[in-house]
């Protein structure tokens, strides 16, 4: 059975100041997978996501989302940046941050109204953050801030979700809550792509994996390619993990 391709990346090369951080990446992400992108620090994991989302301009290559350029498919895609990429002292509340997820569908100038507020409240409910809706965002714990970011992506009601290290600096209960939401998204037929650091949890959380270290090492189902060979190729040291079936 041939699955539909959600995201296709061809010959992608991205550079900072002409120093390539991603070399000639070819990648097909099938629809409906829950995929981890793994690789050492500086492997270009975040860069890959940012390039797909048009935040960084590649020096070569092309990207398509369901067969069209990203710019035409924004409404199908939601993005959760790294938690550390924003200033949490910004004067705003949890609800307001989640509302920002609705701005994309509103477009320029138009303001959010009751409909957007209702959607934001529902998303807060889903991540268990409704009691915190009026909290100033600096008054939330790290895990709660991550949940707010997740709610902001949920409110976009997208088909593809990109998440940059959603488990960074969160406690165990938040991690479980987040992974349950990601699994529910996959069950609903969504495609979820996660930059991930904890190799131990890859087989448990994900069904698809991409190994990345400046070049693409491998991509495919976790059960077929998550092995010592690929880990060694990616991390450059003899890597041994025991994979439990």
């Amino acid at each position: 059975m041939k699955q539909k391709i959600a995201v296709q990346v061809d010959d992608l090369t991205v550079a900072y100041n002409y120093k390539p951080v991603l070399w000639d990446i070819d990648l097909e992400i099938p629809e409906g997978v829950l995929m981890a992108i793994v690789g050492p620090n500086g492997a270009g994991k975040s860069t890959l996501i940012k390039s797909i989302l048009g935040i960084l301009k590649p020096i070569a290559g092309s990207i398509s989302v369901y067969g069209k350029p990203y710019e035409k498919q924004r409404s199908l895609v939601a993005y959760v940046p790294q938690k550390g990429s924003v200033d949490w002292d910004f004067p705003t509340t949890a609800l307001d941050v989640v509302m920002m997820g609705t701005y994309g569908s509103l477009g320029w100038i138009k303001r959010p109204g009751q409909k957007e507020k209702k959607a934001a409240l529902e998303a807060l409910e889903k991540v268990g953050m409704l009691p915190f809706k009026n909290r100033q965002i600096s008054q939330l714990s790290g895990g709660q801030q991550q949940r707010i970011f997740l709610a902001r992506a949920l409110v976009q009601d997208a088909s593809i979700y990109f998440m940059d290290e959603p488990f960074q600096g969160v406690d165990a209960s938040t991690e479980i809550a987040i992974i349950n939401i990601l699994k529910a998204l996959r069950k609903a037929g969504k495609t979820v792509i996660v930059v991930h650091h904890d190799l131990q949890t890859v087989p448990e959380y994900f069904d698809w994996v991409t190994f990345l270290n400046v070049k693409k090492i491998a991509t495919g189902p976790v059960k077929d390619i998550f092995n010592d060979d690929n880990l060694t190729k990616t991390y450059g040291i003899n890597y041994k993990v025991s994979i439990q079936e």
Partner: protein, 386 residues
């Protein structure tokens, strides 16, 4: 009040509002210093514009000078992007060079140009009412009033239209980009507004005061609110307050108006910095002291809750066991008694029902960080006010 006095206060207030709006976003974007750079580096733009138009109030001159402001920002970003120096260094490299080009241009043409560096840096609000705008022979008011008024109307229009875009790109540029709100367009839009405002205002209040009016009201407002809209409103109010009170301070001291307004901005910030209800220094110190007491109280109550043995709950034993000084023990004991949290019988301390319930809730809150647990306790205790 004479007409001129009213006009000066009106111009100062409009300048203050026009500066406070872009200033709020500059402060939130941690770009306060870029306004300093812009305010200085527009000088060559003004001089060249003046050579071309021979009119300090020409719209063309304002646009040319604003363009120099944008060039400053582009240059700063270009130097910063090389990765060789940091942003503040790049700012420090760019604007003195542009400013000095302006200074040399003025010096070389001092005889023909009706412009001097002092006036650019410090402005002279007191003279603003003398330069009138005449439309078919009718006096419609001071020219600066019309210039800054027009800039303000445009600024407010842009703010209302693009508030949501400015907010999201300031808070999270990555998200804004992925949603299709180009952070670059918004960034340069904001830089353009800041530059135009600076040029429009410099003639009246000078380059130094423009920086103060952009940054100080926003920084003051930031201490008072956690809501962006309110921060904008507060900034505008602080700007107007400083403009008018500064004018009267200057009147009373017979001193520079621009200098007096800046002094008022400084005093206002200092006052708020000291007395702001949440982020002010005094509030913070007071809260820390209260929290210390409350944490001790909870520690003490928890100890009682965890130990049923009477020996563990004897007053003397408590002193030794929790390892507090006598004075502190007594304070906490008194506080707990006063709030009916404990009862003391025969020198044995026991938790009352109220104290027991309080301890459970407090611990629940500390573990879960959920507001619902302590909604009704909030008014009584600082600890739970986040």
């Amino acid at each position: 009040m004479s007409n001129a006095q009213i006009e000066i206060q009106l111009i100062a207030s409009l300048v203050a509002i026009a500066c406070a709006i872009p200033g709020t976003f500059l402060v939130l974007r941690k770009m306060a210093m870029i306004s300093d750079a812009i305010s200085h580096s527009i000088l060559p733009g003004i001089v060249i514009g003046f050579f071309i138009t021979q009119d300090l109030n020409s719209p063309l001159l304002i646009l040319l000078a604003a363009l120099t402001g944008i060039i400053t920002v582009v240059l700063v970003e270009y130097i910063q992007k090389t990765g060789l120096v940091k942003e503040d260094t790049a700012i420090g490299l760019v604007f003195p060079i542009l400013f000095s080009i302006g200074v040399i241009l003025i010096a070389k043409n001092a005889n023909d140009v009706h412009l001097d560096v002092d006036a650019v840096l410090l402005g002279e609000l007191a003279f603003a009412p003398f330069d009138r705008l005449m439309i078919s022979g009718v006096d419609v008011g001071p020219k600066s009033l019309w210039i800054i008024g027009s800039i303000l109307v445009i600024t407010i229009g842009l703010l209302i239209a693009f508030f949501k875009e400015l907010k999201v790109s300031t808070f999270d540029a990555g998200l804004a980009a992925s949603l299709g709100f180009s952070p670059a367009i918004l960034h340069y839009g904001l830089m353009t507004v800041s530059s135009v405002t600076t040029v429009g205002a410099f003639d009246a209040v000078g380059a130094i005061l423009v920086v103060a009016l952009m940054i100080a009201p926003a920084a003051t407002a930031y201490l008072l609110t956690t809501n962006l809209k309110r921060m904008l409103v507060y900034s505008v109010c602080f700007g107007i307050f400083s403009a008018i009170s500064g004018y009267w301070l200057a009147h009373w001291l017979d001193a520079s108006i621009a200098g007096s307004i800046t002094t008022m901005l400084g005093l206002l910030f200092l006052t708020v910095y000291l007395f702001a209800p949440n982020k002010g220094i005094i509030a913070v110190l007071y809260r820390e002291k209260q929290q210390r007491t409350e944490v001790l109280l909870i520690t003490f109550l928890l100890h009682l809750k965890n130990h049923n043995d009477e020996r563990e709950r004897h007053v003397n034993h408590l002193n030794e066991h929790i390892n507090w000084q006598k004075v502190r023990s007594k304070t906490i004991l008194d506080l707990a008694l006063k709030n009916n949290m404990i009862s003391i019988g025969n020198k044995i301390v026991s938790l009352t029902e109220k104290g027991d319930e309080f301890t459970t809730q407090a611990i629940d809150y500390i573990i879960t960080n959920e507001d619902a647990q302590i909604e009704h306790m909030k008014d009584d205790f600082f600890l739970f006010r986040g």
